[in-house]
């Protein structure tokens, strides 16, 4: 099927790749169908989470473990139930990236990771009430410390 996207115009996707977000994304609760547009470069960890409800809505996402090796979250029973998660291997985590003009100051929202059950194609943004993490975690932390 063909869809319109924010950054790539019209693209062809497969129905089976659509991820359902029963509760949407916080502040975008009515957006319940998304697709991950992977970037083709394996060295590049950034991807897009494109809404199918609104072609103008897309988030830049990244696997948090790329820059935060010790990221450690607890997925609550309610999310396990909601996303029908049966085993840890079927879970894939992403975090939403905020992109300022100066790319080196990009931040990732570690307080609100995106959890996806890759077997069922079900997703949710979860709320971590954990003071180790913030909504604006610098992705290039080491670089900024060095300055």
């Amino acid at each position: 099927m063909k869809i319109n996207t924010k950054n790539f115009g019209e693209i062809e996707i497969e129905e089976k790749d659509i991820i359902n977000f029963p509760s949407g994304i916080l502040a975008f609760e009515d957006q319940n169908r998304f697709i991950i547009i992977k970037n083709n470069d394996e060295e590049n960890p950034f991807h897009y989470l494109q809404s199918l409800n609104d072609s103008n809505l897309a988030f830049v996402i990244i696997d948090p473990f790329v820059f935060k090796k010790d990221y450690d979250i607890n997925i609550s029973d309610s999310i396990v139930e909601k996303l029908k998660i049966k085993k840890p291997e079927e879970v894939k985590l992403y975090t939403i990236v905020t992109v300022p003009k100066d790319l080196k100051k990009m931040t990732a929202n570690l307080s609100g990771p995106i959890v996806i059950n890759t077997t069922r194609n079900l997703g949710a943004q979860i709320v971590l009430d954990d003071n180790r993490y913030s909504t604006k975690h610098p992705i290039f932390e080491k670089e900024s410390e060095a300055i």
Partner: protein, 72 residues
């Protein structure tokens, strides 16, 4: 909004299985204990609002993937 007055160690019930206990009141702060089934998520509202706001900012972001190649 329903407003109830409670003293220390008094509770309110929400439905049959959620109980909120006032465990301490001191210096303008109230400590609450919450008993709820495991499938109910409980968070402070600020964190919710923070994530909502950050999502709104992030929704405006745009990346040219090529420009990111050498950042890592």
């Amino acid at each position: 909004m329903l407003i109830l007055t409670r003293k220390k160690n008094e509770s309110i019930m929400i439905g049959d299985n959620i109980e909120i206990v006032v465990t301490d009141i001191q210096d303008g702060k109230v400590k609450l204990g919450i008993k709820a089934p495991k499938n109910i998520d409980i968070h402070r509202k600020e964190i919710y609002v923070d994530i909502q706001n950050e999502n709104k900012v992030a929704a405006d972001g745009k990346i040219d993937f090529d420009s990111l190649k050498n950042l890592f």
